[in-house]
Amino acid sequence: MNASLLRQARDTLPKRLNAGILMGDGGFCILGWMLLTAGYHPITMYSNTIGVVDPATGGPAIDVVSRVYDVDRAAVVELARLNDSTPRASRRDVLRGAIDALLEGEGA
């Protein structure tokens, strides 16, 4: 796990997280934010719901986040599921807690 990068994503979470879209209408979902934190340009995610559009390091968003953060794919799927199933008002806090749990699980 790239704990340093994961902590950075957690500590800089925006006030609002979107559901269901990597980037659009002025915001990101948790995966979009993690990708942005990892250095992916918004244009690789713009108006995109599944994949990261990059000719060298793109692909399905779940897989790219899993690879870049060195986190199990299942854990990334869980983050995405949690993002989309949580009401907007509490989404940021819930996701922050989920990342905390990931880091604690690794002893990071």
Binding site: N18, I21, L22, D25, G27, S47, N48, D63, V77
Partner: protein, 575 residues
Amino acid sequence: MSTPRPEYGAGVGAGARTAGAGAAGAGAAGASGAGVGAGAAGAGAAGAARVNGGQLMADALRREGVTHLFGLGGGHINPTWWAAPGAGIKIVDVRHEAAAAHAAEGWSLATGDVGVCIVTAGPGLTNAVTGLANALNNGSPMVCLAGSATLRGQDTGEVEMIDQLSIAHTVTKWARRVYHIDRIPEYVAMAFKEARSGRPGPVYLEVPIDLIHSDVAASDVVWPALMAPQRQLPSPALVAQAAELLSSAARPAVVAGSGVWWSHAAAELRAFVEHIGIPLVTRQSARGTVPDDHPLCFGNDWQSVVYRADTLLVVGKQLDYFFGYGYFPHLEHLIQVDVNPVEIGRNRVPVRVGIVGDAGATLSELTGAMKPLATDEWVASLRSAASGTEAGKAALAASDEAPVHPMRVVRELQSLLRRDATVVADASNMLMWANAGISAFTGGCNPAMSNLGCIGHGVAFALAAACARPGTQVVWLVGDGSFGFNAMELDTAARFGLPITTVILNNLGWSAQWVPLGVRHYERLAPGFDGIGELVTEPSELRPALERALAFDGPSIVNVLVEPEPEYFPGRYLG
């Protein structure tokens, strides 16, 4: 083949035209093969007749089948402007040259044939540049005619003089200047061939003002032969390889792109997917060539299909930004068909079989080479995933909250449209909602933006669609930011009696950039153009307003205040 040529009377100077040979010439375009040199035969009465550059240009255009010319007048192009109506060409004069160029592309997107615009010298051409660039990125065939400064006055500081050719070279696939008046028909024929050939695209042809105003003996003009478009056939060996890979795949799928539209291959595409039983997504100009509600069609949601497939047949679709650059490492095999060999394996994508050939011709060959596949379970799994996505969309579309959710706007609109309605979705964030909520049922009815990233061009596409398909519904779906670019073209719609319905998803700013615009009453522009306009702030107001707008015989604007930070529908990125 014989090549009809216009006949000119003995009028002097202005090129008085006595016979409507243009219409006859246009008919000849349906013939096949390349006639050679047949245009030299002169009409008996033409010896004493003289014809000016504008008349030659208009007749040459009509010979190519042109019926509409989108443009904005100027002294450098007056002779063509004046001659076009007499040649049977309707001039649609717009309010800015950008719209002229966009409308010419819009014509090609709506019809599959070459659209034409005409602009004057200097700023006329520079204003049109974005439209040309968009068509270049889209691969849309169009011809841009331009006036230019005099040949004699080059480098003298003459008005409206700029190196237009150099500018045009960067945004077209072919750019030329005519130096001799008698060669105007020849260059027009070249321009149309270039626009249609290979990967289609925009071309540029300029005629200096001193040339277009001059005249020539009609008998000195040699009219070139017309040549019908021909389909490039694929290699039988490569077709066999592709058929074998597709036949052995567990989860094959097809992605159809604009090449299908330019090949006029809707029937071949549908026959192929139905014969094989292979699921399909349509992208860009291929939207609607197989209707979205076809059992094997999954609309434009390419990611949901592509990331689940193991073997992909990509037909006439660039491996570009709109298609993940073709970077799909999970695939076992990628088979690509394109009329342009340069497109095969773009971005170093490992294409297993690359077929250079016309989309329609290749699909026909593949249909003949393959037996139906057992894809029921595979298609059912895709349909199940799509149903989940649809449920999420439906929930958003049912929202009764104000400001109105954008998904509600596009779905209410969709429910009021006929299957042959044109919906021009402009660009930027608004496009996400259009892509998610607007279906395509007929080819050419959902003209797409290019990866150039233009905004505000949609009204010009709508103008062209309304001209090409009179009597059908035409909707310009646009954000409040983009609306400002070419809103004055609603005046063009009014002057030409084109009932374009404008629906603004107004989220009060440039939301992708977090730049506010505030509440603006764009709907109040409509009465100024003899149209109707309404502001919608509550969901309950939406449907009646859309109904009134769609029923109005003229330009209408429905300005809908939408949720600036809307929720999206969940789950698609779970793959």
